[in-house]
């Protein structure tokens, strides 16, 4: 909008503007409450007209999310949020499309759609609430549950190997891979803003506690005692430091990562790996740390590269075709090929 035609400035939006009149029906204490709060707090800063936000979800506890946002929303069917969101974005690329999904919704029933969404790179912000369990169906193991998990459907322990979500996303050519934690309000807000700013599909995995069926699954990353050694907070361009006193770091021994002590005089910051979010090999290493017991789990932007979005190519192709062939003339098209006239 140019200055001389400027419409009266819309009043600034607040968190309340994004809160719907619906009663939130998650279990008291569910990690989803925090995620909802961080989204509602962050959105007013995005300077996007409220009507342009669309929340799409599949099925599961997390997928009730759209009902609680006072934006356009669509609670779809199990595993298909990815494709409904694709249709929305294809029809109107101006919209800011947010996809709320869970580990079962996106990695099990919707696994096929997830990988294709990521490889196409539509400009959609995907928040995957990972609680490593099926909550809404009352406690079966999920594709991200650890092997041996005892649940209602695996009373003798699950046999499935768990998916590594960021590694899966990387394998599917995701252009943005991030991770955050439900209760880490500040970090989560930052990551939501980062996902929003990214052009292309943002894959944001959010560790989310299910206090009914998988309680304390992520305590390692929130407890003061363990947080320091278990959480590696990534910062682009910065050495990989962690530990309660920022006393530990990660360096490469050959091509393998190694945890080193920065206080014994042997290693300094200069020896550590410097995070480069555009480095795919580094990203692969970081994804792999997810299930390594001797390493901290990475949080933050694991990987991010620039790549043209799918929908912009779709409309570019249309523009190019019009430029090359002229704007389609339907009357002419109907009469194309061999025609004859009967008098």
């Amino acid at each position: 909008m140019s200055a001389d035609t400027a419409a009266p400035a819309a009043p600034a939006l607040t968190r309340k503007d994004f809160t719907s009149d619906q009663m939130v029906r998650w279990c008291p204490g569910c990690g989803d409450y925090s995620i909802l709060a961080q989204v509602q707090k962050t959105f007013p800063d995005m300077n996007m007209p409220k009507e342009n936000f669309v929340f799409i979800s599949g099925i599961g506890c997390s997928s009730r999310f759209p009902y609680y946002m006072d934006t356009y929303g669509f609670h779809t069917i199990h595993g298909r949020g990815m494709t409904v969101a694709t249709g929305v974005k294809l029809a109107n690329p101006e919209l800011s499309v947010w996809l709320v999904t869970g580990d079962g919704d996106s990695m099990s029933i919707g696994g096929n759609h997830l990988i294709h969404l990521l490889r196409r790179n539509l400009d959609i912000n995907l928040m995957m609430f990972n609680n490593r369990i099926y909550g809404l169906t009352k406690g079966q193991y999920s594709p991200t549950s650890e092997k041996g998990k005892v649940t209602k459907s695996s009373p003798f322990g699950s046999l499935d190997h768990a998916f590594n979500p960021p590694a899966l996303a990387l394998g599917a050519s995701a252009t943005f891979i991030g991770r955050s934690l439900d209760v880490d309000a500040k970090h989560l807000q930052t990551m939501i803003a980062e996902a929003y700013a990214h052009v292309g599909t943002s894959f944001l995995e959010i560790y989310q506690n299910c206090l009914i069926f998988n309680d304390n699954a992520f305590d390692d990353y929130s407890d003061k005692e363990t947080k320091g050694v278990r959480q590696l907070l990534l910062e682009d361009g910065q050495p990989m430091v962690f530990g309660p006193e920022r006393n530990l770091g990660i360096r490469f021994e050959g091509h393998r990562p190694q945890v080193v002590d920065l206080t014994n005089g042997k290693w300094s910051l200069d020896d550590l790996v410097v995070h480069d979010k555009t480095d795919k090999m580094l990203a692969l290493m970081l994804c792999d740390l997810t299930y390594q017991p001797d390493f901290p789990t990475p949080f933050g932007v694991i990987y991010q590269v620039e790549k043209v979005s799918y929908e912009s190519q779709v409309y570019q192709q249309i523009d190019d075709a019009i430029e090359k062939l002229g704007k389609g003339d339907l009357k002419k098209l109907l009469k194309s090929g061999h025609t004859w006239t009967v008098d």
Binding site: Q22, P49, K50, E51, N52, V54, F55, I56, P66, Y67, M69, D70, T71, Y72, G73, F74, H75, T76, I77, R80, M82, T83, V84, A85, T86, G87, V88, K89, L90, A91, N92, E94, L95, N112, H113, H116, V314, Y315, Q317, I318, A321, I322, K324, L325, G326, K327, G328, L330, K331, L333, L334, K335, S336, G337, H338, T339, W340, T341, V342, D343
Partner: protein, 625 residues
Amino acid sequence: MSETKKGVRKNVESIEQVTIRFAGDSGDGMQLTGSQFTETTAMMGNDLATLPDYPAEIRAPAGSLAGVSSFQLQFASKSIQTPGDEPDVLVAMNPAALKVHLPELRKNGLVIANSANFTKRNLSLAGWDSNPLEDDKVMGEYRLVQVDMTRLVTSAVEDLKLPNKIVARSTNMFALGILYWLYGRSLDPTKDFIKDKFKKRPEIVEANIRALDAGFNYGDTIEAISTSYVVAKAEMAPGVYRNIMGNQALALGLLAAAHKSGLQLVYSGYPITPASDILHMLASYKNFGVVTFQAEDEIAAVTATIGAAFAGALAITGTSGPGLALKGEGLGLAITTELPLVVINVQRGGPSTGLPTKTEQSDLNQAMYGRNGESPMVVLAAATASDCFMMAFEACRIALEHMVPVLLLSDSYIGSGSEPWLIPDLDTIPEIKNRKVSAGGEDFSAFQIASEEAMARSWAVPGTPGLEHRIGGLEKDIITGNVNYDAHNHQAMTDRRQKKVDVLANYFPLAEVLGEETGDLLILGWGSTFGAIRTATLKLQEQGHRVSHLHLRHLNPFPRNLGELLLKFPKILVPELNNGQLVKIIRGEFLTDAQPYNKMQGRPFVPSEIERKALTILKETSNVS
């Protein structure tokens, strides 16, 4: 009438209608040959209808029975509705083609065979013990012209020094040339086609044109064919015509709907025979602003369509039977969220993967009932290839004006079959309105019915200020659209979804009967059986029988006068290419003694089958009374 050319005296006879069939190996170019004859014949002003028939395998083993590909065409100086009953002429490019198709040729019909391919190996592949062309027991009832097309084409192009492969691939043009001579067709349209298609390969252009000329001259010269035929122009309504296949007509109908509604067309599909053509065509119309999306699977295609409909586009998906099965859950979501979209099902033989390239009407039950819960859906069916245009347009109009998903049935027969199409005047086609709203009052609720008459809610699309709302697959409050599990609300919503379909009968045209509105027998059909039923009915009426034809394009809901019309006939016959799906609905709905007539062979009815069946019923009736 006779003429003299090159010393051979030839008769020219005038005939009203002819059915010809080209048959050969999948690699022999029979589909191209048939479609060239079709184009030329259409331009010469005959009415026509075609039936391409090809194997599901891209290249079945050469010379095998499984690899036979054929193309049948009827053309006439009068109005016709089917590709014909028994062919008058069979072009058999190899022994397998002869084996498969000879039994269907009419007695005393003409066989034109490429004798070069009747080798020992090919004969054995086709299961002939000896050469049938030399066997009077096989060929005795037919007239035979056997010609070594391969040798004649080879000598015609000898100086071009082309590889054998290219020469062999030109023999279909020789066969086409003979038939062009036989029916007095012009060679020019095909020559123009060849020049355009192979413009980068002048040697191929030359070879094909020489083969075509050689075939034409062969017909003119040999004594074995003493007569050529003239089929006069058919009487047709004035206007500009082109030949069109059903899938082409569907694509154009969707484009016209986008044009007349002013909406962005978003078509999502996953490749599936025989519906892929629609995706191909729309993908080529990028300069018309069409968005096409080749999804990762059928479920993705339908749910992306739902997303596009939510966001305000003219959203379409197309598929065939197995794909529709996968889309079932998605369609339930479209029904419960009351979003305007169109699903096209170009039916094929089932169940499961079934007969991918053959025709059937066996998805009617799936269209009507193939979803969980009470999920009534609007179902339409196109009757002919050219009818696909207006039915596609109509499906879009209903969806947008009534905020309802619409399922349009076509099938392989009309999808890939073709006929002349009177090109409509775009200016006379009315605009399509939609239910978009730009603002709502204080009490605006997205899910509230905005028009009781049309049973349509408003279409408040994302991006519209102040109308933010949420919808979903959970049961919705009848006013606000928020989640509501209340017992009475669910009853009211179930009733509302049914009523949304039912009220459309008030908007659909009344059913019309061909013939008298009362009589001894009504033949009731839907979809692609139109041509066969109409032809049979006309013939029965000519014979003095009191038989009428009623054809349904609207299957859910039915036209509102259907019950009343059915009551006027003591007997009702329902021919269907399934095991009796419409007939059961009709019996259930109207308590009439409708009788099924079913065929499950992957092929359309021929008129004589329906005629015979009708005569049997008429006889039973007269015996009783």
